[in-house]
């Protein structure tokens, strides 16, 4: 029951339900003496925030983070950073119609079975709203990591996929389109698809690619706490994620070893990077890259059949607001969890003096 903490050395614990008083968290283990750019943290939150464009949910939330401790005269003190984000637009009444209903592919049913008592409003704790707290932690981790650059972008929406490898893309395009796709042409097509799906009251999945650059050799603690193992856990810990692959991933299973092996050059770099920057669970200094699969979100604007808490068949009405495609808003979440994970291993390997 105590699964709300992530990380060991840079440790994030979150609290909060979608429609409670507030969400927030505590970051423990942040190195001391780091000057924080609070505006940059808010900007990361704004990238995740609802209502930011026409293709995402129109729920309006200010999502303003308020820091309560751990920062003094603009710098971290090494003590826990407490923070909160008030839930300003929590229309609980919007959820009265699903109070006693288990929506298909939502966590309603399993929460009730597991805990016996549930805050049903807006998904309660299982709502992706909770990830705002992770974005705060990730934004801080990014600032601590400084030179290690973490970039995520939407790589596919439904059938529309970026075909170029990340090396051939210009990351500056990512924030230029509402989809957060690094390929402007594909971005336009994805946007069209999302609009169409939205009009249908339906939803659509997709993938996000995340790239970590300037990683030092040595991050990862085998045999169990491998860098890729923990990144995988971080990714599968994000709502709607159903898969992850590193380097050549599933495609690489069809290759011969002689094709897949990455020859090492005298400077320790490799000519190819099929491994995706992680060998034996430890970073080898090359770019780390991985792809994350997001299923289509479960909330639809269509009626669906399901059951209620008395296990009777009912119709779930499709009304309210919804994200036809969560991918654009998931980009900062993927980056955040990546940053938190990388910093955790960085402190483990290099200590907490920055």
């Amino acid at each position: 029951m105590a699964g709300n903490t992530y990380g060991n050395r840079f440790r994030v614990t979150t609290f909060g339900e979608s429609h409670g008083v507030a969400i927030g968290g505590i970051i423990d283990g942040c190195p001391a003496g780091i000057t924080l750019d609070l505006e940059a943290i808010q900007q990361e939150l704004d990238r995740r925030k609802p209502g930011q464009s026409k293709i995402v949910t129109q729920r309006k939330e200010a999502d303003e983070v308020k820091f309560l401790s751990g920062i003094f005269e603009g710098k971290t003190t090494g003590t826990p950073i407490g923070f909160m984000i008030e839930n300003t637009n929590s229309k609980s009444k919007d959820y009265d119609h699903i109070k006693d209903i288990y929506r298909p592919s939502h966590a309603d049913y399993v929460y009730d079975e597991k805990y016996g008592h549930r805050d049903h409003r807006g998904g309660g704790r299982s709502s992706a709203r909770e990830t705002a707290s992770r974005v705060v932690a990730g934004a801080i981790a990014k600032q601590v990591l400084k030179n290690i650059k973490i970039t995520a972008y939407v790589a596919s929406v439904g059938d529309i996929a970026v075909e170029k490898p990340y090396q051939e893309l210009d990351f500056k395009h990512i924030e230029e389109n509402p989809v957060r796709c690094a390929d402007p042409i594909k971005a336009a097509q994805m946007e069209e698809l999302i609009k169409e799906v939205k009009k249908d009251g339906d939803s659509i999945g997709g993938t996000i690619i995340c790239v970590i650059q300037n990683v030092p050799v040595g991050l990862g603690e085998p045999v169990f706490d491998r860098l890729d193992a923990d990144l995988a856990k971080a990714m599968l810990g994000i709502n709607a994620v159903k898969g992850v692959e590193f380097g050549r991933g599933f495609e690489g299973t069809k290759m011969r070893g002689s094709q897949h092996n990455d020859p090492i050059l005298p400077d320790g770099t490799t000519t190819t990077n099929n491994a995706g920057g992680i060998v034996g669970g430890i970073s080898n200094g090359m770019d780390i890259y991985f792809k994350v699969a997001f299923k289509p979100t479960a909330t639809l604007m269509k009626d669906q059949q399901s059951i209620n808490t008395s296990h009777e068949v009912v119709t779930v009405q499709g009304k309210g607001r919804h994200d036809a495609c969560v991918l654009p808003r998931a980009v900062p979440i993927v980056e955040a969890m990546t940053a938190v994970t990388i910093l955790d291993f960085y402190i483990e390997q290099f200590g907490s003096k920055f």
Copy 2:
């Protein structure tokens, strides 16, 4: 540096290098009063053991597990179970030619960079030999779990893939062929492919599907310690694994929500199971299934260019013994790590009284 423990409530810590005195581990948190079938544990080890068939490495290891504590009069006592497996066939000399060499896509280079001092023999700690200890822990976990059935099988080798979903396969075939594929016709084709690759001195990757049946509702501790997140970590913690997907996984990202959602029936089951038995990070009582991607093993019987510890270009000779395809031997490892993970969450949810 302390990443050699897996699990919280059922906790496995392993030790040992490929060519040291012994490998082994400690299992802490095993429920008391469980009658253990020691022969069944040895059988699991035999499934992982080298030399078991013509298509795996011919290194001969007895891989006999010896229990040192925690079992009294045939039953677990609730105290830590210490065990060891002696390294009987550790031809250290076989590795003299790579003593100062960083083999491509092996962990040699990153271990040296990270730790500064390395047991190079047979890959040392980074060798998959260490997974034998996990198989012991998994075999015990399986016995504790009793009715929860965990079955893995090879789903593809290179381009040859089982096309039928697991529901249409008869799992009894798995142990009938050296590949451990549940589809006999595909198994024969895979065997041919592996032999061919082996003759070339090359290696080949593939995928394993794992199915968990009779899972109670309620396993998983969101928001971070989700059942799928920890299974993902467990899988990526296995040597050569580069990806994992749950339920419809990557393919599901192309679906609409109206297709992907699993309608709930009055008894709490769902008509489809695109989620793969896990919703919101918690088991929903349906079968859990996931697919794991293994890259081709890095050891080849071909010469490769690389560098030595002085960062000079050298040729790595392809000699000794190797696994052209690790998939058949990885099946029991996937099952073992799955069993350990499931039991860990089971104790968390239902307590340790069995």
Copy 3:
């Protein structure tokens, strides 16, 4: 740097500095479905609060706890309980005169050496103000534990000590006097002593005895996570605590085994209880009792010599408000940390279904 979490299964993480925006915490792992008496929680805070009587510090703080999550319709949901207590009377200016000074026997110096950057106001994170968050967690733990009764009282102040064993005292007296001593006659003497010490601008130490009644057999996880070992950690984790002893403790070291051994009766109870209810690190069903040593608080209203951050000799002025004796306010803290520890082990042993 990440030492701000206590407990494993019932897990408390706190944040906050004495004079920051707020203090608070997150309780993870609280069983679901528990009806919480929020007023009773506030009452526990009031027992710890400054300004409650003439013999404690006159700083005025409302210490009102505000719950942010994890409680729905009056009941716990099993999700993390976030809470905060605003710092309303944080006269930062009061501390300007010690901004660059390392006060004797305060944590000023070690914090600066360890973290390099420090919120000096009111002791910052090292202030006992942080313990208010622990009292909230403890008050919740008490309610979950229900029948297990945890009672602490002041057993000595300076040389004035309660001589009767706890069995001969009536605990109802504890809240009847400002010292929180279970012996009314001694309480009056202690009160006099504290007033005298206060008039001198000095401080005085003392001891607290804590008694846990109705404890089931079986709490404790040897060999390291013994019940007494974790209670000891919990006690030494409280500001100003310098020692702890269980059962006959230090006095018992002078006894013979034939005197100290507790004979077991047919019902499993023991005729004597020199062990203090814990044998081999596990509760044996008898009352658990232990004594905690508090040093005199370091803040004095007298001038003292010390050094500043430039390592020059300076005089620390004795001005402001202070607790001449922290014992009365420490009673609820001792109870709180005891309750949290007991509940943690209780869930470990008996599961989280209440």
Copy 4:
């Protein structure tokens, strides 16, 4: 049930029962590249070993440690160090007479109640024999710590107590007498007392003082993982320990703040050291010293009344071998657990590069 691991960054997990095949453990997180003096490790074990002098138990055990992994060419590799000590003199039959008996003040009863199934031979897991594994880990920690000197000695046996503070004692005397007392005159008296008690078939308690010298400023992770809090846990985790006090401890509770405060000198040291080297849970660079209370051991050579597993009254016969006073053999255990704790915090603060 998983309480057999101690430490976070330097992490020790032990296994083994008194009369099983072997005891041993795994040390995870040991820094790489440390040249280990294996003989010095064995010497520490010899200090704990039974039969070493006339005043301790005459059970004969070689207590030879065998390392199984983690050391290569004489140096640590950073991978887990597995080790075992075979149980050579495990006369199980010696314990047949107590097979169904709960001995007074032993863990027999609580183990049976907690686990339901118990290895009764020689106390099984609850036997102090397990601490040999801790001594191995401590001996390694000592070697890693190098300049930080950890010294423990017997400070009292029954009523006979060393009166001089540790600063006035010459530690070279400790190993010159079988009691391990730093004061030769008191040592002789203690030896006499132990012999007398032994002749009576009885046992006697005592105290051990431990001193840590050359400690850097900054060890400790408040607010919960304070250096003293974890040392307290480590001490209470040792068999027969019932109390611990740091610096002036219980005596200090009678002092005024003006007496107890330690004035800081320009170099950061303090004129007095009433705090015992730890302020606010963090080492301040002064000597750390603490006192540990050991109750008289429960095993007597006298008949005692108790109950059997059917809860009938029985007589426990006083026969076999026993330690009339465990203090001399407990000295290396106290040092070991101290060394492990200090190293754990050292790595946390300064990283794992040595």
